[in-house]
Chain length 144, copies 2
């Protein structure tokens, strides 16, 4: 959860190098995303408020945008409504979402390798696997 391309506190330097300021809120919000795994802005807000109750929703939205711009978090659409954010601390992955039990599973990008290759050669399309979400029915829910 804390290792990966940006282990330790390197991201703080990168943040500042890009002209951003390092604030408690930004640390808190990034930590919240990492703790939660997959979370909507609303859930991130709630988690952040456990530590600093005064944190504001607009700060969460603005911060998630900044963090995503820096490549520290990503978002995907795991429901028809809210976007959900996750840390890019670990390796890249895409998501399976069961329409029946709502469970979310993370999958290695390699599994989609064939599709990516086909899209590249047949459609000249370079896909962003990390943003991919596949809806369907999971093993348990598909049982007869």
């Amino acid at each position: 959860m804390t290792d990966g391309p940006d282990a330790g506190g390197d991201w703080r330097s990168r943040l500042r190098e890009q002209g951003y300021r390092l604030t408690p809120q930004r640390e808190l919000i990034l930590a919240a995303v990492e703790t939660l795994g997959h979370a909507t802005p609303d859930e991130v807000l709630a988690e952040a408020r456990r530590t600093a109750p005064s944190v504001n929703a607009s700060t969460v939205y603005r911060t998630l945008e900044v963090l995503e711009g820096l490549g520290l978090v990503r978002h995907a659409h795991l429901s028809d409504r809210a976007p959900t954010y996750h840390s890019v601390g670990g390796r890249e992955h895409f998501h399976l979402k069961c329409r029946n039990c709502q469970r979310v599973e993370s999958v290695d990008p390699e599994v989609a390798g064939g599709l990516l290759e086909a899209l590249r050669t047949q459609h000249g399309f370079v896909a962003d696997v990390g943003h991919l979400t596949v809806f369907g029915r999971c093993e348990t829910c598909e049982e007869p």
Copy 2:
């Protein structure tokens, strides 16, 4: 655009068989979706109003829900915000969305066959290809 599993006016019978009533608005909204190809509820409303200016937004939402329940239309998320609806008149397909030029391309499900198979065998997950949207960069926008 008018052929497929439900060619002609067969859908009207199915509609009634399911206990629904056949109203001008329902015809109009289905026609709007077919005319537009891919459209947000808002766009569907605008198109429907070209014929019947009194059509209401809530009717569009309610009707799209009914039509989707009957399998006459489907929706996918082609932008981070609005859902877009399309007719299921033609054959099933999934979507590629270019983040640069915003263009949408429809792709034959067969292209994703490998992925589906892998998800089924490796994760016991039965994917719904028709709802799939892959984000990335299209051929033209990827040129150096």
